[in-house]
């Protein structure tokens, strides 16, 4: 009973040609993003979460073979020509990366760089662009924006730089903001401020956010809905409260058991033995089978499809928690 989605991803697959042969990074992932929604995508390194997001606005190199569709505003972004794609990127869907320093140009002032985005996409005058840059810095709660606007990236702290990146991403009032590990390079006390800012952006501007992270605490803080990825596949999806209260996939359960939590004194953390498989073609089995304590013949010979096991709770598993408990 959801409203029309803002963004709809269908059967997205991404394959790279590497020196060691083809590598399937994303394997038929589908999801939707509603207006004003914060969607968290979590998983460990190599699960395909960043590749998924980069392929939404086609930021991947030419060596990536992308299939499926990404429907936004009635058109498939994967089929769009370069000029029309450029109009969507930045204007309607913008992207922020993990490491703000390497995404900012060290030889231009902050105001210059934000102004450039504004002028390129909105075609306003230099003076208006500068004024807009100050407004944007104010929006992302940078103190003394009139002064900061003329500073260079190296004069700012890591947290401030990430705020500048967010300001730049918001320059054209996008409908969707894709944030790829936006707080991973930051200290916890700085991370707290960035998470507050993301929440505020959604509330004040109504921007929908796709938040990619390996940190389950970050997801618990801001996401409405969460997708768990493993070895290129979406293995679970649910509302944030539901996912953390009743995780279904043994991988999600294991991940939650592996993190030490404040206030909870455990003798041992849960371990997930084994390694993530890599594949050149879709595996004809559950990708978690090698590491799963509930694996059986079915798990090893068939692909589990995503199905609803609890209300609005999808899982790709033959033995989800709900059915084992019953």
């Amino acid at each position: 009973m959801r409203a029309e989605p803002l963004l709809e991803v269908n059967d997205l697959s991404v394959r790279f040609e590497t020196d060691e042969g083809p590598l399937l990074a994303v394997d038929q992932v589908s999801f939707t993003l509603a207006e004003r929604e914060v969607l968290g995508i979590v998983g460990e390194s190599g699960c395909g979460k960043s590749v998924t997001c980069m392929s939404l606005v086609r930021l991947l190199p030419e060596t990536a073979a992308v299939s499926g569709s990404v429907v936004f505003g009635g058109v498939d972004l994967l089929a769009l020509g370069p000029r029309r794609l450029r109009r969507v990127r930045g204007n309607e869907i913008s992207y922020i990366f993990q490491e703000p320093m390497s995404s900012l140009n060290p030889v231009f002032t902050v105001g210059n760089q934000i102004g450039e985005v504004v002028r390129r996409h909105l075609g306003v005058s230099r003076r208006d662009a500068h004024r807009r840059a100050v407004e944007l810095l104010q929006l992302v709660r940078i103190p003394a924006p009139e002064r900061r606007v003329d500073e260079y990236p190296h004069q700012l702290s890591g947290g401030m730089r990430q705020r500048v990146m967010i300001a730049m991403a918001l320059a054209c009032d996008p409908k969707v903001l894709i944030a790829d590990e936006p707080t991973t390079a930051l200290d916890v006390t700085i991370q707290a401020g960035i998470l507050d800012l993301m929440r505020e952006v959604r509330e004040r501007l109504g921007t929908a956010i796709v938040l990619v992270t390996h940190n389950l605490g970050v997801v618990a803080d801001v996401a409405d809905r969460v997708i768990v990825m493993y070895a290129g596949r979406k293995v679970e999806e649910a509302a944030a409260n539901e996912l953390f209260a009743a995780p279904q996939h043994p991988y999600t359960v294991g991940l939650l058991g592996a993190i030490p939590r404040p206030g909870e004194r455990r003798e041992r953390l849960e371990e997930i033995p084994g390694r993530v498989p890599t594949a050149s073609a879709p595996l004809a089995r559950c990708v978690f089978a090698d590491r799963c304590r509930y694996a059986d013949e079915t798990t090893r010979t068939q692909v589990p499809t995503l199905r609803t096991v609890r209300q609005d709770h999808l899982v790709a598993c033959f033995h989800p928690e709900a059915e084992r408990a019953a």
Binding site: V188, T189, A192, G257, P260, R261, L269
Partner: protein, 348 residues
């Protein structure tokens, strides 16, 4: 666990000259570690927590004498090692070992895992070839690696396996002190869990004392008996795990605890977090007085002393040390998450 310190650090200072770069760096001095004192007790896990730039890694490097301290002293089992030469240090290296953050760059890519782990035995001329091999197989077993892993090169191992090799190398001489600098932060969550479990098991079996350095509070809460919190080159609070987590005193410790994210949406969204204002100051020009005063959420209550005098790290209750002008024996810290009018502070 005895109370006798195996490692004593007293008023340790490490300053670096700041480079005068091509673009005209200002020169000056980086006050990386500025007067740190603590003792590591026998058989304990002491967690050293701090954010980037706090000086925690510099402190670790001084303790194992990868850096020579500017002043202050380090005593290992009562012996002053602060200014020993490399040659004088060599026999002591058996007792003091370090595990590094990045298990990849700290392992020689041209040596097999077995050679890497046997290296300390070889350098210290301990045991013949046969005995060495037996020791290596034994320690491999203890860190959860099979004997066949001895013949693999670092690039053939996973991140978790590489960190196990790093641990095996550090522990093969059965040191009395292990300094672990962010040993799990480069690893994935599921791998972190197995390394943390392993470290805890090994510490219980072998009984070494461990200085565990991290930025992650949940990890120290899981692993450590006592916790020291560092801010801008100085310790601001040292106490038992229970005291730090249930009754943190220093406003920085409180802020750090409030900012940590919990993997539980209901709980996380109820938490009241205090976002510290402003940027961390530069260790080139640390603030006067209390180094935290520029960002202190209790600045409304602060006394003139906060900006003028450096607060000493003093005992405010048994085994609980705090460096804050607002906290003293019998005076508990105001809670930073309380509304400001709910707290009253005498004087100032």
């Amino acid at each position: 666990m005895g109370d006798a310190p195996v490692l004593e650090v007293d008023d340790l200072v490490k300053h670096f000259p700041a480079g005068r770069g091509l673009l005209g760096g200002s020169g000056g001095t980086v006050h990386a570690v500025d007067g740190v004192s603590f003792a590591l007790r026998e058989g304990e896990m002491l967690g050293l927590v701090g954010e980037s730039g706090s000086g925690k890694t510099t402190l670790a490097n001084c303790v194992v004498r990868l850096h020579e301290p500017t002043s202050g002293s380090i005593r290992l089992n009562g012996r002053d090692i602060t200014h020993l030469s490399r040659r004088e240090l060599r026999p002591l290296r058996r007792r003091l070992h370090m595990v590094f953050q990045d298990p990849y760059s700290s392992l020689n890519p041209r040596m097999t895992a077995g050679e890497i782990v046997a290296e300390p035995l070889r350098l210290h001329r301990i045991a013949g070839r046969k005995d060495r091999e037996r020791s290596v197989i034994d320690i491999f077993g203890r860190v959860g690696l099979g004997p066949e892993h001895r013949f693999r090169y670092p690039h053939e191992l996973s991140g978790g396996q590489r960190q196990r090799v790093g641990l095996a190398r550090s522990l093969i001489l059965e040191p009395t002190v292990l300094v672990a600098d962010e040993p799990v932060s480069a690893l994935d969550v599921s791998v972190q869990a197995s390394i943390l479990n392993l470290l805890r098991d090994l510490q219980r079996d072998m009984g070494f004392s461990c200085l565990f350095i991290t930025h992650d509070l949940a990890t120290v809460e899981f692993l450590c008996d006592r916790i020291a919190v560092m801010y801008l080159g100085q310790l601001v609070e040292v106490a038992s795990r229970d005291a730090v987590f249930s009754d943190p005193q220093h406003p920085y410790t409180q802020a750090l605890l409030s900012a940590a994210v919990v993997p539980d949406p209901e709980e996380q969204r109820k938490r009241r977090r205090v976002v510290l204002e402003g940027d961390p100051p530069s260790p080139l020009v640390p603030p006067s007085g209390c180094r935290f005063h520029t960002r202190c959420p209790l600045h409304d209550l602060s006394a003139p002393a906060c900006e003028e005098d450096e607060p000493p790290l003093r005992e405010v209750s048994p085994d609980h040390l705090v460096a804050c002008h607002l906290v003293g024996p019998g005076t508990r810290a105001p809670r930073i998450a309380d509304p400001p009018d709910a707290v009253t502070v005498a004087g100032g």
